[in-house]
């Protein structure tokens, strides 16, 4: 075990996979010589050569399209889109092509491409460097969608994603790169070295997609979340003094329905929390599933905690961000409902 922050864990995942499989190639803007604007690919071009860690032109549609073509020719590309906010020029290639190549060819072709992209707010990124677009991909048949909340999971999930024969959208909450963030911007930042999940094995291991993690067991309330909000919800549950069970989904496609349903049936109360905008967000899908599967076990309406239905404003970042206060308010409302 080694202490790693999330960037180091992601770097280690790619390093491990490149060493094991000569078909793994990296591509993206600034990822080669420079090592990426967030340093996730640092040192990998020096180690594996400029044919396997490619600097790409600023053309996200071209990056994803050429990654698809490489995957058809037997490679396993890992493409970095510098910010999730920049992914839309590639949306057609992802939705109409990448997601459906296996399906439309009757299973004869497949496109094992992993797209890594930093998402979420909390770094003063304004409306073009803060988005959480996971719902836009979860809605598309044929894509797996992953969002880790800590270094250990980040490495294991990225290795599992690269080894997948199906395409994966791998969203990295950038506010978590350097340390767990509980939603309070005024507290001094803490690193991953003080966190159990900052202990990361150096070699190969997998964290399977579609398996949620119960990060805090509890009996009175279930909080279902992923990404940055895992840490916010943990802190909020602690402050609210409620015996809450907090579930980190880790991947939203495939979705671990069983873990969700078992927990809600046990607690009878539930909150779904994410940083993305509320309307038609992924929370609505989780909530529908709970309503269908757990209705007779519910003792209170299931509530959503999310970003507001506005773009992410630069000046009002902490008024937009669904911090502890918003989670605690939802906990109270859920616990007080009879």
């Amino acid at each position: 075990m080694t202490q790693m922050n999330m960037i180091q864990a992601l770097n280690s995942a790619m390093d491990v996979m490149m060493a094991r499989d000569p078909g793994v190639v990296l591509m993206g803007e600034d990822v080669g010589y420079f090592g990426g604007v967030f340093r996730a690919t640092e040192g990998l071009q020096r180690k594996y050569g400029e044919h396997r860690v490619l600097d790409s032109p600023i053309a996200e549609g071209g990056i994803v399209a050429t990654a698809i073509g490489m995957s058809i020719n037997g490679l396993r590309p890992v493409a970095e889109i510098q910010f999730a906010d920049y992914i839309y020029p590639a949306y057609d290639q992802i939705v109409s092509e990448l997601a459906r190549i296996r399906y439309r060819s009757g299973g004869d072709f497949c496109a094992p491409v992993t797209i890594r992209t930093p998402c979420g707010g909390g770094i003063r990124g304004g409306q073009t460097h803060s988005q959480s677009p996971e719902a836009l991909f979860a809605h598309v048949s044929g894509l797996k969608v992953v969002m880790p909340s800590n270094p250990y999971d980040a490495k294991g999930l990225l290795i599992a994603s690269i080894e997948e024969d199906d395409p994966v959208i791998f969203l990295e909450p950038k506010r978590l790169y350097n340390g767990p963030f509980d939603g309070d911007p005024n507290k001094p930042a803490v690193g991953w070295n003080s966190h159990a999940r900052g202990d990361v094995p150096e070699g190969h291991y997998r964290v399977e997609l579609g398996v949620a993690d119960i990060v805090r067991p509890g009996s009175k309330l279930t909080i279902i979340t992923y990404g940055t909000m895992v840490h916010v919800c943990l802190a909020a549950a602690e402050k609210a003094g409620v015996d809450a069970e907090v579930i980190d989904l880790r991947s939203i496609v495939p979705l671990d329905v069983e873990t969700i349903v078992n927990s809600v049936k046990k607690t009878g109360r539930c909150i779904v929390a994410h940083e993305a905008t509320r309307f038609a967000g992924f929370g609505a899908e989780v909530l529908s599933t709970i309503q269908e599967e757990c209705f007779w076990h519910l003792e209170a309406p299931v509530l959503r905690v999310a970003g507001w239905d506005t773009p992410y404003p630069h000046a009002f970042e902490w008024e937009y961000f669904p911090g502890q206060a918003r989670v605690i308010a939802a906990i109270k409302a859920t616990m007080e409902a009879s």
Partner: protein, 415 residues
């Protein structure tokens, strides 16, 4: 007073007007020089303005681009073009008769696919567009297999999931056709980049129409291909029309599509797309560039879409009837036939026999294909197949939906 004025391009002739192809600059056959495939860009730039042509008005092969193909190869090319045309005609009628939902003919554009395939190796990869059936036929896919795809029947390679004509073949190195335009262009570049990364000598070719060059994917493809010197041949089939949209709306007014090539730093060649020998020759030239590490080539194949865009289209509403009869570059099948005759290698009897053979081949295949079912009759695909291949392995939620459908169908059958 000088002021700005919005320019809205229009085609030279609309329905009821006399066809006018004076805008098509046609070089005499044999006049364009043939530079070395690895020559510097400035020595190949003229190829984007002139037109490479080999067959002259007397149907003889002339000039430096003459590939000197053996008569047997020419006959094979003719056979594949005539089979493609017979297949197209029969399938168009099948759609009109309500047997298939949709079809797209390639009439008048057969050389674009068949000659290009002949100039490449079977191990080379292809990312076709939707009007490249000549590739599938000349690569030896069985006509009956293509028909089963059109029928979405029990032997459909796409398992009933794709609109007719969106074929593929792993064994024949033909990638799955999308149905969305231009997406295959940058994918082909990625395939070729992988070939270079792996140090293999397989190259890649891809096709799209003049209209599709307006998509960003076309520009991504040229950019990435040239940056990484990918071993890829980028073909623009300029058949003048994108449904009712004339090629000027894709930027073809006053500047050839081939000229986009030099703009990105690669050669662009404008070629007579209805001249089998010329298409073969430029493809061979581009393949040599790709195989020797010189990188990509953009080829503009100047041709004419003699057929409607698809069975859902009626070109008489936007262009003069029989416009194709005035097309200055003629018909690729008739021109190759005339060339073979000029060599003394072809007779009326042979032509008649081959036409009949193609027709019988197609009719026989159609009969067989129908025994594997149609959308309405005969053996049917199991609807549960729709849940396969979304992912490599079925997810629990897809399994639940599959069982839900089974229940729905059971109840429907009981009613």
């Amino acid at each position: 007073m000088m002021r700005s004025r919005l320019h809205v391009p229009r085609p030279p002739a609309r329905p009821g007007e006399k066809p006018d192809f004076s805008y098509v600059a046609v070089s005499p056959a044999g006049t364009a020089a043939r530079p070395d495939p690895n020559a510097p860009l400035n020595e190949t730039e003229f190829l984007s303005r002139e037109m490479v042509r080999v067959l002259d008005d007397n149907h003889r092969a002339v000039g430096p681009w003459n590939p000197h193909l053996a008569a047997a190869d020419l006959e094979l090319g003719l056979r594949h073009m005539m089979l493609t045309r017979a297949f197209d005609d029969r399938m168009h009628r099948a759609q009109r008769g309500g047997k298939i939902t949709f079809y797209m003919k390639s009439t008048g554009e057969e050389a674009v696919s068949v000659a290009a395939n002949m100039a490449l190796k079977p191990s080379d990869m292809m990312f076709p567009a939707y009007r490249n059936q000549g590739l599938h036929i000349s690569r030896g896919l069985k006509i009956v297999d293509l028909m089963c795809q059109l029928l979405s029947n029990t032997r459909d390679m796409c398992k009933g999931r794709q609109l007719p004509v969106m074929y593929h073949s792993v064994e024949s190195n033909l990638f799955s056709i999308s149905g969305n335009l231009a997406t295959q262009f940058p994918q082909a570049v990625g395939w070729a980049m992988a070939s270079a990364i792996k140090g293999e000598d397989r190259i890649c070719a891809t096709w799209l129409g003049d209209g599709s060059t307006a998509e960003a994917d076309f520009h991504y493809a040229l950019l990435f291909a040239q940056i990484y010197k990918a071993p890829v041949i980028l073909n623009v089939v300029n058949n003048q029309w994108a449904i009712s949209t004339f090629q000027t709306f894709a930027g073809g007014e006053g500047r050839s599509f081939a000229s986009r090539g030099p703009g990105y730093g690669m050669p662009g060649i404008r070629v007579d797309g209805n001249d089998f020998l010329a298409v073969y020759a430029v493809t061979q030239w581009a393949a040599e560039r790709a195989r020797t590490g010189a990188g990509p080539t953009l080829i503009e194949l100047v041709t004419y879409r003699a057929a409607p865009h698809s069975t859902s289209d009626d070109p008489s509403r936007y262009r003069p009837k029989d416009e194709e009869k005035s097309w200055p570059l003629g018909d690729p099948v008739a021109r190759l036939q005339a060339h073979l005759r000029s060599l003394g290698a072809w007779s009326d009897e042979q032509e008649k026999a081959l036409a009949q053979e193609c027709e019988e081949h197609v009719n026989q295949a159609w009969k067989e294909a129908n025994t594997y079912g149609t959308l309405t009759d005969g053996p049917q695909l199991d609807p549960a197949i729709m849940f396969q291949d979304v992912f490599k392995e079925e997810t629990p939620s897809l399994a639940r939906q599959r069982m839900q459908l089974a229940q729905e169908l059971k109840e429907r059958a009981q009613k």
